[in-house]
């Protein structure tokens, strides 16, 4: 199978492009090298065929490197990006990383430096883009658990997904407990297994942890896998309407528990219908959210300030947090007395738990 990856190099200087081309031809994986002297042509190339890595200069006429990276990040999220520049400035390094580049490298001036760059690039070319848990890519959480139990290990897994943390306790190959977001035991275990990705680490075992799970790990894994396959996360025999109602009650309870007032969510699709919990004005608020999301995104691109993480606002009655997620934008309202420093984290946690 042909696994030759394609690299696109963007620099306004044709001499440098030739030089890079020669250097990169030394890479062990022998990638196909394409070049472009301007951002517009680079975009056209990226549209026309799949590239693995884009190497981009920063200082270029018309469309500079930060502008290119800002567009690339949005249009080609799978593309690995490398900045190769002569600009030795911390601000631009930070901004490039804020735009999601994988590597920021000063143009090499020694052979050793060039060798290091080539090694980094080779590693970037080979890195798997598949989903999985950081640390053990290409293995699902189910695989990892089975391996640990088969090897009769004693350990604690700590799994982080956004701001939500889950823990699974294994003692001498037996699954004994799980905990996440207020849930414990089998319920927590099932919830954690529904996570598709996250950060994963092992902690020292806790021999005196109280046992709450008595089923074998294989039985639980099978049950959970079947549930995920069948309905995503429904209860057997439950109608769609009942499931919807149960979800609404659960969400309102979570909102109240955190001390929030109301939430409006707006899916990313242009003609989508907003949903509101705890407010009758979801439609009106969503109109503002739609405008604000677009305006903030445009402002960020125009200023080359990187993606927006959230917006915090307030009026005389309440504090608000608007944050984008993968598929939608959420607006969460808090009482005016809520502490501004914590409502962003609380909103993030709430929205993550609603989605899981």
């Amino acid at each position: 199978m042909d696994t030759r990856y394609k690299i696109l190099i963007l620099d306004d200087d044709p001499v440098i492009l030739e030089l890079y081309k020669e250097w990169l031809s030394q890479l062990p994986s022998k990638p196909e090298i394409h070049t472009s002297t301007n951002g517009a042509r680079a975009m056209a190339l990226l549209e026309s065929e799949p590239f693995r890595v884009l190497i981009c200069d920063l200082k270029m006429p018309k469309m500079d490197g930060l502008q290119v990276l800002s567009i690339v990040r949005r249009r080609f999220p799978e593309l690995r990006t490398v900045v190769m520049t002569g600009v030795e400035d911390e601000e631009f390094r930070s901004r490039a990383y804020a735009l999601g580049v994988d590597l920021f490298w000063l143009k090499p001036d020694t052979h050793q430096n060039m060798q290091m760059f080539l090694e980094c690039l080779e590693s970037l070319l080979g890195r798997d883009a598949a989903s999985g848990f950081r640390g053990i890519q290409s293995k699902s959480l189910m695989d990892i658990l089975q391996m640990e139990c088969l090897s009769q290990s004693s350990t604690v897994f700590r799994i982080t997904r956004g701001s939500t943390v889950g823990k699974i306790w294994i003692l001498n190959g037996d699954l004994i407990d799980a905990e996440t977001d207020g849930a414990r035991g089998e319920a927590a275990f099932r919830r954690i297994l529904e996570w598709k990705s996250g950060t994963f680490e092992t902690l020292p075992s806790e021999a005196d942890r109280e046992r709450t799970i008595t089923k074998s790990v294989n039985a639980l894994l099978l049950e959970t896998a079947q549930a995920i396959d069948e309905t995503g996360m429904g209860i057997p025999g439950e109608s769609a309407e009942e499931a919807d109602h149960r979800k609404t009650v659960w969400r309102l309870a979570a909102l109240t528990r955190e001390g929030g007032e109301w939430v409006v969510t707006l899916p990313n699709e242009p003609q989508s219908t907003p949903e509101g919990w705890g407010t009758q004005s979801a439609g009106e608020f969503a109109a503002w959210m739609r405008y604000a999301t677009e305006a903030v995104k445009n402002l960020g691109e125009k200023l080359e300030a990187g993606p927006w993480s959230h917006m915090q606002a307030q009026n005389l009655d309440r504090k608000l947090v608007m944050l984008p997620t993968k598929n939608k934008t959420c607006l969460v309202a808090w009482p005016i007395s809520a502490e501004a420093a914590v409502i962003f984290e609380k909103s993030k946690k709430l929205v993550t738990s609603w989605d899981s």
Binding site: D12, D13, V15, I16, L19, L58, K59, M60, P61, D64, L66, G86, V87, E90, E91, F92, R93, S94, R95, A98, L99, K107, D109, S281, E284, F285, A287, W288, Y291, A292, A295, V296, N298, L299, G300, K302, L303, E304, A305, G306, P307, W308, S309, H310, M311, Q312, A313, Q314, N315, L316, L320
Partner: protein
């Protein structure tokens, strides 16, 4: 070293992030600003217009705001409503993040 000379050619200047504050009246005119004069005035006007519009759209949605703060990866924009206009603070976050 020849390689070094190759990389040291003159290049266009990259635009820095704006830093400072500006006061805008309800018509969108910039009344005062502490943002460096090297930052394009046209871009400052674009920021000001967008901020005023965000306040206006919020009022239209019956969600009047007195203040908001937008968090970009490398810039924070804080805006306070001031009698139909706004006071806007632009704070690059890049140096603080590293």
């Amino acid at each position: 070293m020849g390689l070094l000379n190759l990389f040291s050619k003159a290049r266009p200047v990259l635009q820095r992030l704006p830093s400072g504050s500006l006061t805008v009246d309800r018509e969108g005119h910039i009344v005062t600003t502490t943002v460096s004069s090297s930052y394009p005035e046209e871009s400052l006007h674009e920021i000001a217009d967008e901020i005023l519009r965000l306040f206006q759209e919020a009022r239209n949605a019956h969600l009047p705001l007195t203040e908001f703060r937008i968090h970009f990866a490398s810039l924070h924009i804080t805006a306070r409503e001031a009698r139909g206009g706004a006071i806007i603070f632009l704070s690059p976050a890049a140096s603080a993040q590293t």
